[in-house]
Symmetry: D5
Subunit: 96 residues, 10 copies
């Protein structure tokens, strides 16, 4: 099942750079592992924002929740979730 998720990141201004970089490095590795598994199908940067718009392909709402709450940046994020369907006009068989 597909979901569109928007994540807006607000790292506190007083977090030491080292700590922030460490969290971001773990976040990146975590995201890329999920992309390789096909769970996190797309991730785009929103122009001008410290935010992304992503597409997830998961087994269930539960799986999506588990993935999101384990994001290292989750405590610093505002998250919006929107359920998606295959569109009847889509020509891509694999685009759910």
């Amino acid at each position: 099942m597909l979901f569109q998720v928007r994540m807006d990141v607000h790292i506190p201004l007083d977090m030491p750079t080292d700590k922030a970089n460490a969290i971001k490095a773990v976040e990146k590795a975590y995201s890329q592992e999920l992309q390789r598994q096909g769970k996190w199908r797309h991730i785009w940067r929103i122009t001008g924002q410290y935010s992304n718009s992503s597409i997830f392909d998961v087994e269930s709402n539960e799986e999506l929740h588990s993935i999101l709450q384990e994001l290292p940046l989750y405590p610093y994020m505002k998250v919006e979730v929107m359920a998606l369907n295959r569109h009847p006009s889509s020509i891509r068989e694999d685009d759910s």
Copy 2:
């Protein structure tokens, strides 16, 4: 360049079904032609809504505007446009 576009369709309740179906058929053909050209990269239905969330890959803002305003359903749509970038964590080379 990538853009995320949300389209919410509000066909007037008193439009004759024949007319509505004719417009939707042209809309579908138009969308699929653009998908085949690679301009309209993704289209998903938003669950529960007469709305889609789409990803466009165009040469310029002008091209995106031309594509949108020629949509047969454009007069009945509310449209939101958001510029996207390739994300530094993306593992897909072709995902801009």
Copy 3:
């Protein structure tokens, strides 16, 4: 999978009462059939509104969308969909 759906109904003021009643009767039968199947687990009236708050238990986003768009009152509704998970504090085994 569980979803919470809010439906706000806005029947046009000039719809003849007979037509409105006929639509509502089909709507009620359709809702009750889905309740008997266990797809539409709960439906509550929102106090003071011509609106309901409902819980659906479906196989997929696609099934939820199909159910909603076939509602006889769908053309007159504003719909909001929110994905739900089982809560770790819930004591009800069957409450997903």
Copy 4:
């Protein structure tokens, strides 16, 4: 009487983990005791959020207020309350 309540939890980023865990453990026990009493009829996690959507069945507005303000996490919550009625289309006798 039924009420739908949404609770969004915002624990301060600098609260020590031990303290947060202790509060959450008391919260869980408190919630489960109320579920066993039938006062807190349902609790669902909202996908992607540190939030729940719950249904309460109480004697009065006063009882609902007392239950909510005694939640250990109450000082860290944004709470929304919505009164509900039995819906005329509901097939469940015990669903108020």
Copy 5:
């Protein structure tokens, strides 16, 4: 139980004056009967608006819903309902 209800009335501009006056007369009689019964404890006009702010004292959410949906102006109203409790600082014994 006490509820605060705000009603904003939007009578269509093309409703004949006679019809509007007839509806308003029934509305007034209906409101006054409920005031005499003690169900509709207060009604105030909101300055500058065709709106009122009212306090209801009812047995249940169901009774409040029945009262509201039988208002002759209900089809032309936007309604907001807010549950109230006796306040611990109140000095009025009968002010719930």
Copy 6:
């Protein structure tokens, strides 16, 4: 003249309990004195919130402002003021 005032209280999480209790005690005495004078005609708790909905009967906007800004909790409040009139359907002579 009548005014409806909503007060939402946000006491800082790090205020010592003793200090908070002392402020609340003064607030309660202040409110009850104004209730006895008939200036603060009603005060209700909003269910589930640390908020009240109140009705004031004052000589002027100035008097209302003076009363509000002297509230001990005023620095921690969000305040909304709405002017009210006697309603033409009201049956209570003393309900302005």
Copy 7:
């Protein structure tokens, strides 16, 4: 007592020009009479809008409501009312 009132006028697009002009002429005369009486102390056009921002000086909320609801354009207006006080920094004795 002083009130700031914003009025946004939305005359239906299909109202005949003659009728609209007649209403506006009565509106202007009515406004100017109230200005001469000192009730309607200021009226300014909001740049770019068919809207005004006005200051009223009235005896009571009731008087303000009566003035507003008798405006010939009232059925076509959205109205916002905000109570004002003399400001402690004001140097104008007559500016309430």
Copy 8:
């Protein structure tokens, strides 16, 4: 040229009273000097708020900006600016 400006003041709760009073005293003197010059034509307190609604009469947008950013309380303010015109119904020659 006339502008309506709303200023909402949010002094941090932990600012020492002496410092706050000193800033307010300078603010008051600054405001009164501008009132005497005719630049700051009106200032009213918004009932129940630590806010004012003001009318400025300045040579240009630049002059308005200079006046506002030199307010001693400016760092603690939320400011809204709205351009105004003389209204065609106004009877006051000097009310722009």
Copy 9:
């Protein structure tokens, strides 16, 4: 003086194409004349919308209002006006 103005156009769906085209032709000529005079310094289409974002350079608020309300499409527009200043970082002498 500079102002940024956003105009969102909503032509009624049932306006005959001939009439709409005639209005748009007059609108275009009117806009271009003002551009040649230097009053309407910039006009950009907002991508995906029937809307523009424009910069006006006028003598006064009054002149801006006159220009806007004489737009042939004005009755079908939602207009937002924002006063601008020369920015201290601007390197363009003629950019106000």
Copy 10:
């Protein structure tokens, strides 16, 4: 390609003046260099706000994002991005 960008700056109240001034000086030099390159075509102060409205002319969404996130004040900004097109009524050849 053209983009309109609004930047609202919120420097923390407790940042030392020296540090704030140093950041602003780098910001100004950075902005002016981009203006000289023609990337940052316009920058205007929004009257009364610590905000600017700017027009960028860039090769791509990626270039815009890079420019914005390298702004020295970026960590303290709220940023809004809106894609623009040349307008069919524009008389300026070089105004995209």
